[in-house]
């Protein structure tokens, strides 16, 4: 395996008595598309929160591109090239879709410089290109509050992509989305990520999505990585089926 782009070693964090991470080792290679699965409350989102600086691990180290980023604030981690999207889309609700994305485009570039309008020709073009890539061009001028959940999810991810990240961490990109839409959303998403050469980690509950899109899957259970490997192998593992998929199937039908 080539040198990992993102590497977690011995990550530990506990909330009260609950060990969300209890010695997590996870390496992500450049260009990989890795799914993290596991029961609810296992600590999957906590991994994203620690990697993006929202939470500081109580022990362990996170390296990005060879440099330690453990405990840095979200702002400096973002500037190094790690972006994230959210399970519940975090949109700027007073802005339109294109303004949401344009704010991120500007944040990555000329934010503090000058009084040119947010949607000047250059930023508007960049934002529009992203919206087209994500199939959002039709809703560019819609307010963020007027969108359905699938469109909100894609907007949320397009906003993260506007920061031109090298690694994108996605928290359940298809949760809350109608099942008829989920493959369409994932196709769009994966095509965009591949086109930009972005390495991605996504937390996912839907095994169909994991099987179809992940290069590799890591199973997170009780603060540990229970298994990791290609989806076909991991999802056939009886221990995984018992620990995770059983719970997941119940969850999916709830």
């Amino acid at each position: 395996m080539t040198a990992p782009l993102l590497s977690a070693k011995g990550l530990k964090i506990a909330f009260g008595g609950v060990k969300a991470a209890d010695g997590i080792d996870l390496d992500i290679a450049p260009g990989e598309f890795v799914a993290i699965i596991g029961p609810n409350g296992a600590g999957k989102t906590t991994f994203i929160n620690m990697t993006t600086g929202y939470l500081r691990p109580q022990a362990g180290h996170i390296h990005f591109d060879g440099a330690e980023i453990t405990g840095l604030p979200p702002r400096s981690i973002v500037r190094r090239g790690i972006a994230r999207s959210f399970q519940i889309p975090q949109l700027f609700t007073e802005h339109t879709v294109i303004e949401n994305v344009a704010l991120k485009v500007a944040a990555h570039g000329r934010f503090w410089r000058g009084l040119r309008p947010l949607l000047d020709a250059e930023t508007a073009t960049t934002a529009m290109r992203l919206l087209e890539q994500f199939g959002l061009a039709d809703v560019a001028t819609a307010r963020a509050t007027e969108l359905n959940e699938g469109t909100r999810k894609l907007t949320d991810i397009a906003m993260a992509m506007a920061l031109k990240p090298r690694v994108l961490l996605m928290d359940e990109p298809t949760s809350g989305v109608a099942s008829s839409e989920k493959f369409g959303i994932m196709d769009t998403l994966v095509a965009a990520l591949r086109a930009e050469g972005v390495t991605a980690v996504f937390v996912e509950h839907d095994m169909e999505v994991v099987e179809r899109y992940a290069d590799r899957v890591a199973v997170w259970s009780q603060g540990k990585i229970l298994a990791a490997g290609p989806p076909a192998t991991v999802l056939a593992d009886p221990a995984v089926l018992r620990e995770v998929i059983g719970v997941e199937t119940k969850h999916a039908h709830a």
Binding site: S76, K104, A107, R116, P117
Partner: protein, 313 residues
């Protein structure tokens, strides 16, 4: 400023001049209103970020007392007003570094606290400030000319209008820029801003310092117009007045503060003349009606009536 703003801005300026020509005492009222409009523009920037300051009279007082303190040494208005704005900027930066870390009620109350501390200092440090007696300000020269009263008042009014137009244009540019557009993002999703690599504190600090500079400049104009400054300038009711005007005028446009300030001063003057004991009640009733029936303020009413394509709130 786009054409939808330029037309009402210049029409409004012409109307102000016409009215001031018809009733001599209105020059004074309008100049004060424009000065307050400057300060309210700063309040509007903070309101965009969802933050209400109940202490911006502090910066009006800082600007006004800067003029009062330096007037014995500096006789020129074109120097006094930049000094007032600079003093507002410096104090705004010092206070802003602290208050920009807080939100909502804490932001509002901390601003209130700072303004009241300054009020007490102005009142107690009699040796320097002459306490509640205040300080008289000799009429400064304007561009080297020592003007008689009527000419002076006209120059102040026209200058005030020119400043309002220029700074209104700048404010609308600022609000459309990425930095200005990040203000409502502080209100709706501050953490997302952080995850874009942008410090929300710094965004709010920039808006805060601009608002302090505008209020400082407004205070300087007030001192040069009333030619007398007292600690009351910093009193909390005057901070409340700025917020009142912001809501009255409406936050949807950079012209809202000036529209609000002019209507406010006119209502205040006429109501005070007609009902010496009850004018606050009239102002209160006006504010209630605005909040209940026209949440986007007078500018919102104008948009609905004239432009007919105002955004729905």
């Amino acid at each position: 400023m786009d054409r939808r703003l330029a037309l009402p801005a210049f029409a409004g300026a012409a109307l102000v001049i016409a009215l001031a020509a018809s009733a001599p005492w209105l020059k004074f009222v309008f100049t004060i209103a424009l000065a307050k409009g400057l300060a309210v523009t700063g309040i509007l920037l903070l309101l965009r970020a969802g933050q209400v300051s109940f202490g911006h009279a502090l910066y009006i007082a800082v600007g006004a007392y800067t003029v009062a303190f330096t007037r014995p040494h500096v006789g020129e208005m074109l120097l006094l007003l930049p000094l007032a704005a600079a003093a507002g900027t410096i104090v705004g930066l010092a206070v802003g570094l602290f208050v920009a870390r807080y939100r909502d009620i804490f932001f509002g109350m901390l601003n209130l606290a700072f303004s009241m501390v300054f009020y007490s200092l102005l009142e107690k440090l009699y040796e320097y400030t002459k306490g509640t007696d205040g300080i008289r300000v000799a009429r400064p020269t304007i561009a080297g000319m020592a003007l008689e009263r009527v000419d002076y008042e006209w120059t102040m009014l026209i200058g005030g209008i020119a400043l309002a137009l220029a700074l209104g244009w700048l404010a609308s540019r600022f609000l459309a820029s990425p930095l200005g557009q990040a203000l409502p993002a502080i209100k709706t999703r501050e953490t997302r801003l952080e995850f874009a690599g942008i410090s929300a504190k710094r965004v709010l600090l920039v808006a805060y310092v601009i608002s302090a500079a505008l209020a400082g400049l407004g205070g300087g104009i007030i001192a040069c117009t009333t030619l007398h400054v007292t600690p009351l300038l910093s009193y909390w009711t005057h901070s409340g007045e700025l917020v009142f005007i912001a809501i009255l005028g409406g936050g949807g446009s950079v012209l809202g503060p000036y529209l609000g300030a002019i209507v406010y001063e006119l209502v205040r003057v006429y109501a005070a003349a007609a009902f010496p004991d009850g004018w606050q009640m009239i102002l209160g009733a006006v504010l209630l009606l605005i909040i209940l029936f026209a949440a986007r303020g007078l500018w919102g009413i104008y948009e609905d009536l004239v432009l007919r394509k105002g955004r729905r709130a």
